[in-house]
Symmetry: C2
Subunit: 353 residues, 2 copies
């Protein structure tokens, strides 16, 4: 026991934090596959353990994948002949506990998008944007929608599928009221499920990225059932939604199941004036990526027919993400009329382009 | 202010509880549809708002639906010619926070079932039983399995789909080790999802019974993905599961999706030595009720073909519940070979009957 010069007391300090100088110091003590996955304490929670971006999507003039509008034109729009690209920025504000901070991030993303991709880099008008909102504060979200409604290039409102309650519930209605008023569809995209304040849409936390990513589609199914059974499309007859990157082939089975439940239980939801599946064509669209590809193309074609893909499905590539769907290779050979609607007409009508 | 005789003090008591003499007192102040649904404070959380049992299933000699083995013979087994009925008791012990109490309930259910339905009421051996376990305590559950393994009429282990973690996770492995050791399949049945200690397998709580009941199938999908991606069937090669009352038509789309993810992400799950869907025929069965019935029987037949129903699907009626599937009417006309396997052979092989 020795007294120090400064206090004259012997001291044992029971909480002092040592940090590695870089993540690489810790990595050097790890084996693969963990070594190349580790990005620092608490990171990599549900990050793709391989890579999150197409490796060839890094722009030659610097910056990360998806940061250079001109390179996106070169790599995506020109080669495939895209007439429009609907932009889905990734603000991740829906996972934050502070609704004011989340709303500030959403507003900043919208201003940035309007200035850049939808502004000075959009002389040809090929880029159409999504209004980012923080759905934790539906009234603030509605004000953010009001702020951008009428902008020539914002064509929808977007949020992430991660949530604390299914999206059909009434606390969200100020958002839907604003969407309906301005004819803006509401797009739901995966990304904050089970993160921050959001509950995990499965029975407890999945372990691996492959499990988490596969089960993302379950959140979309639950949100859709909620929209339908809560009667959102009765309360807001002009309101439309699009489920982006939530999977495709679950739709027929889910609607068969819900229609059957409705037959027995409609007493509980008297505001539903028709079968759940009958709301889809007027109010719901599904985007195609990641399109499931069974071994037998015929099975996928049967599934697309069952779900009325000709009216419900809209093409999406998810560029520049790792699981990009190429317009040339994602689908098997489709009947011409179906292909035309999926790749072009459904979105043209839905977004009034 | 007046002083009382007993204390000599003036008293204001700020917490005194008044109770209605019966639920009917409160009901008399309610309107329909709430009036007939209300069963007392906190009850009716996710109870069927119409009725949970077939109204004609109440035995003539007293007791509730499903309490009289002889009446079940009269109403179900004889008219349809059932050779065996696999019994799924409903102990609801998996929602309890106390694992010892939950385990005691499971044990009591097993003793009761062995004494009655599998004992003195089972001279003809038509009833086969499920060993109820409390999966909150996997080691205690394994001991309970050991206790009944070898009983001539217990043919599987069962639990509810409600859970705090997906069933592929390693904390459950003592259960699967015991199942494998004794050749007992592990059956998962809905019922405690989002109740008690169990998380809700959707993004927050659904509002209505129709929504909750429709989305029960999402828990099954998440559990199946967990079993597959965690490599449970590699670790326990003799282990088999059956998903009971979790829906049917979601299987093809989910397996297409997971197979596709596996193609890109198998680096993360190197213990999976083949595509996820390839484990199904050896390890997974799905029971048929509630079978989805789309308007077009042809679509259902396509779906059954896609999922290899001829090997994967086993008939179940869910007697005496409200959404009972009759062996005569639940299915459209099936090819003979498929019908024979679904109604009889798949279960005969699976349960070694």
């Amino acid at each position: 026991m020795k007294a120090t010069r400064s206090t004259g007391r012997a001291i044992i300090d029971c909480d002092v934090h040592p940090y590695p100088k870089s993540v690489d110091e810790i990595r050097s003590y790890m084996q693969e596959p963990w070594k190349s996955r580790y990005r620092g304490s608490g990171r990599g929670f549900f990050d793709n353990p391989v890579h999150g971006m197409r490796l060839d999507a890094t722009p030659p003039n610097g910056g990360g994948a998806g940061t250079d509008p001109d390179f996106v034109r070169e790599q995506l729009l020109k080669p495939f002949g895209h007439e429009y690209a609907v932009l889905m920025p990734r603000a991740f504000c829906n996972l934050l506990p502070d609704p004011d901070y989340a709303t500030a991030i959403a507003a900043a993303y919208n201003e940035w998008l309007a200035d850049t991709w939808l502004g000075k880099h959009n002389a040809d008008g090929v880029f159409k944007g999504s209004i980012t909102i923080a759905h934790q504060d539906p009234h603030a979200a509605a004000r953010e929608i009001e702020r951008w409604a009428g902008h020539p290039h914002f064509v929808q409102v977007m949020t992430d599928s991660g949530a604390r309650a299914p999206f059909g519930q009434r606390q969200y209605y100020p958002i839907y009221e604003a969407c309906e008023k301005h004819g803006l569809p509401f797009a739901i995209h995966p990304g904050t499920d089970g993160m921050g304040i959001n509950v995990q849409p499965s029975p407890g936390y999945p372990t691996h990225y492959i499990e988490w990513h596969t089960c993302l589609s379950l959140a979309f199914q639950a949100h859709l059932v909620s929209f339908l059974t809560e009667g959102v499309f009765e309360r807001f007859p002009g309101f439309k939604i699009v489920l982006v990157e939530g999977g495709v082939s679950w739709l027929p089975g889910l609607m068969w199941r819900l229609d059957q439940e409705y037959k027995a239980l409609r007493y509980e939801v008297p505001w539903m004036t028709k079968r759940p599946s009958e709301y889809l064509r007027d109010h719901v669209r599904i985007s195609s990526q990641p399109l499931e590809r069974p071994d037998d193309d015929g099975h996928l074609l049967q599934m697309l027919t069952m779900m009325d893909a000709e009216h419900i499905l809209m093409f999406a590539s998810d560029y520049p993400h790792w699981d990009f769907d190429s317009p040339k290779h994602a689908f098997p050979k489709l009947p011409d009329a179906m292909a035309r609607r999926i790749f072009y007409e459904n979105a043209k009508e839905f977004y009034k382009l």
